[in-house]
Symmetry: C2
Subunit: 361 residues, 2 copies
C-alpha cells in the first residue's frame, strides 16, 4: 500500500474551514440542517468545494441536465457503487469513532475509482447522488464534498472531477457515485483472462480494512488505540486504492484483474470462475500480511489470517500475470493459476482450513 498517499490526519488535507478560528456566525451556520435549505441552496454550498473547473477532461460540467466528459479513445469505462448508513458504515462506532462526512465522501470516491483502476483505466468523472435525512447537518455534507475532492487529489485521479449529481431526502444516508474512466487505447483487463501457469499477485497488504473494521466494531476506544492500529481503522474508513497500479498492470500485459472488495478468497474465486481456472494461494506469501496484523488480532481476539483471506474493502488489486512477466513494483505474488473449474485453495487445501493457528502455531 502506498503509505505516503494515506491521508495523514483525520482532518481533511484540504482547507475545510475548520483549521481557522471560526466566527460565531460560521459556527451557527454549521448547525444548519439540510431540511432548512432547498436543493439549490445546498448545491451552492457543495459545488464550490469540488473544484470541478480544474478538470480539463470535462467539456460540460455541472449545471445542465447532464455533463459531457471526454472519452479520447472512443470508449468509456463505467461503474456505480453505493454506501448505506448502518450497512456500509456506522455514524458512530462502538469504539467511539464518529464517521465524518469527509470519510464517507472519501470512501465513496475511493471505491468507485478502484473499479475503474481494476479495469486498467484512469477515472475521468464522478456523478454523485446523495440521499439525506432532513436532520443531516449542512456542515456534514460540506465535509463529504471535501472528502470527495481530497480523494481525487490524494489518491491520484488528476483527470477526474465531480461533474454532476442529485440530491434528495430519505430516511437514511445513502451515497451513490457512478464513475467514468478512460482506457487510454488499451484493452480493458477483465476477470476472465487468467491462464494456466499465471502468477497471481496482489497490491498492498490484504486484511487491513477488515482488521480496521474489527477495531471500530470493538469496544476498544478509538482514541486510545496505538497509532499503527488507528491506521488500520483508517484503512477501513478511508481506503487507498493504488490508482497508478491498475493502468501499469494493463500496460505490462496483466491477463486478468479485479479489485479486492469482498475478500481475497471470495474475489479470487470470482476471477477463477470467470477465467475457468483454479487458483492456489501460497500461505508462505500470505503470512507476512497476517503477521503485520498480529497486534490488532490480539486486541480484537481474532485470527489475522482470516482477515487476510476473507476481509474485504481494502480495494487493492488482484491480478494474474504471465509466468514470464516481471511483476510490476507494488505487486506481491501470492499464488499460481492452474487449469481448473473455479476453485480456490490455500497450499492445495480448502481455504476454510487455513488459519493463523494452523500456520503460525
Amino acid at each position: 500500500m502506498p503509505r505516503e498517499r494515506r491521508p495523514q490526519s483525520r482532518r481533511p488535507a484540504v482547507d475545510d474551514g475548520r483549521a481557522r478560528r471560526r466566527s460565531v456566525v460560521e459556527q451557527v451556520a454549521d448547525r444548519l440542517t439540510v431540511a432548512e435549505l432547498d436543493e439549490r441552496g445546498l448545491l451552492q454550498r457543495i459545488f464550490p468545494r469540488l473544484g470541478t473547473a480544474r478538470a480539463a477532461a470535462v467539456p460540460v460540467g455541472p449545471g445542465d441536465d447532464a455533463a459531457v466528459v471526454a472519452a479520447p479513445d472512443g470508449r468509456t469505462v463505467v461503474s456505480i457503487d453505493t454506501l448505506v448508513e448502518d450497512h456500509d458504515f456506522r455514524l458512530r462506532w462502538p469504539g467511539g469513532y464518529r464517521t465524518t462526512g469527509f470519510d464517507v465522501g472519501w470512501k465513496c470516491a475511493a471505491q468507485n475509482l478502484s473499479d475503474v483502476n481494476a479495469m486498467g483505466a484512469e477515472a475521468t468523472s464522478l456523478v454523485v447522488s446523495l440521499t439525506l435525512p432532513g436532520g443531516t447537518e449542512v456542515a456534514w455534507v460540506e465535509d463529504l464534498a471535501d472528502g470527495l475532492r481530497a480523494a481525487l487529489d490524494e489518491l491520484g485521479a488528476p483527470r477526474c472531477a465531480v461533474v454532476g449529481g442529485d440530491l434528495g431526502k430519505g430516511p437514511a444516508l445513502v451515497v451513490t457515485a457512478a464513475v467514468t474512466g478512460d482506457l487510454g487505447g488499451r484493452a480493458p483487463v477483465l476477470r476472465s483472462g487468467a491462464r494456466d501457469g499465471d502468477v497471481l499477485a496482489v497490491t498492498g497488504s490484504p486484511g487491513q480494512a477488515a482488521a480496521g473494521l474489527a477495531l471500530l466494531e470493538s469496544n476498544h476506544a478509538y482514541d486510545g488505540l496505538p497509532a499503527p492500529l488507528k491506521d488500520l481503522a483508517d484503512a477501513q474508513s478511508r481506503p487507498v486504492p493504488p490508482l497508478a497500479l491498475g493502468p501499469l498492470a494493463a500496460r505490462v500485459g496483466a491477463h486478468a484483474m479485479m479489485d479486492v472488495s469482498d475478500g481475497l478468497v471470495r474475489d479470487a474465486g470470482r476471477l477463477a470462475a470467470a477465467s475457468g481456472v483454479t487458483i492456489e494461494l501460497d500461505s508462505a506469501a500470505l503470512l507476512p500480511f497476517a503477521r503485520s496484523l498480529r497486534a490488532a488480532a490480539e486486541l480484537a481476539g481474532a485470527d489475522p489470517l482470516a482477515w487476510v483471506l476473507g476481509g474485504g474493502e481494502d480495494h487493492g488489486l488482484l491480478a494474474a500475470f504471465g509466468p514470464d512477466s516481471a511483476l510490476p513494483d507494488g505487486f506481491t505474488a501470492v499464488g499460481r493459476v492452474y487449469d481448473g473449474d473455479g476453485q480456490v485453495t490455500v497450499d492445495g487445501a480448502s481455504p476454510g482450513a487455513a488459519g493463523w493457528d494452523h500456520f503460525a502455531g
Copy 2:
C-alpha cells in the same frame, strides 16, 4: 406526447411470467424476499431479464468491476438520478394504487434517459444501484428489472442497456441509475444558449404528471377512475420522455434545451437564468394543456393551469429555437425569449397571478 409509445397496460409489455398460469413452485418462489438470497443469487435472477447482450454499443457488459461502453465521437454524456420510497413514490397511494417494481424500474430509466435526451444525445448505457429493505420480495425486484428493460425498449433507446449495478440492503427502497449518452458528433444543447427573439417551445402536454400525482394522492380509487384519468396517473408512474425529439432538436439547431422535471415555470427560470434572458410565456398557448386536464382538476379540486405551470416530472423538453427555425414536429411554441435577467412571466405578469379562473373564467 407520443401517445403511441405510452405503455398500454399496467402489466409489463415484456413477459414477466405473470401472463402465464403459474405453478405452485413459482408462486412460492415469488414470495422469496431479498433477505433470503445473497447478492449473487439476486443478480442471477435480475440479469437475464435485462437483455444486456443485445446492445452492440457495449464492448464489456456486466460481470467485471466496470463495464466498457462505446463513445464513438470521443465524448460521453453522463448523469445520475435517484428515486426514494415515500419521497419520489409511494408503494401504496391513498387511492389504492400500488406502485409496482415495474413502475419504479420504468421511471428510473425514463428520468435518466430524459437527462441525456435534453442534451440532444442518445443513451448508451445505464448502471443501476438498488438499496433494498430485507423484506422486499424478489418478485418485486424482478419486476423492476422488467420495467427498466421495457422502458429502454418502448421509449426508444435501442443503443442502451443496463451494463452494471450494485445491490445492497437499506431501510428504504432507493433506486439510483447513472446514464451515459452519445452526442453523435453534435454539440450538446445547453441551458445557456437562449437568445433574444428565440421561440420557446415544449413537447407533450405539461401538467399531466402533476395531475396524475394529485389523482394518486387523492382518495378517489384508482380502479374507479375513467380511462383518461388513469392515463394521467400512469403519466406520473411511468413518464414518457420523447427520446427522438432531443437529438432532433439538436440537429435542427436548438439554441438551448432542458427537460421539464420540476415544472414549466421553475425550469424555464433555470433556462432563463443560465442564458441571461427573460422568458415570456403565452397563456393562449398554455390553455389547451390546462383544458385537457379539466376533468382531473374538477375531481381533485385543483387549478389545471397551476399543474401546467408548476407541475413536474413530465420529462418533456423545453427548448429555445431561433425565430427563423421551423419548430420540429412534436414541439409546441409556448412563449418568447427577450433580453433580460432570468425572469419568467405569463403574458407579461408574474406567473403567481396566472390561474385557470383568471384566464378561463
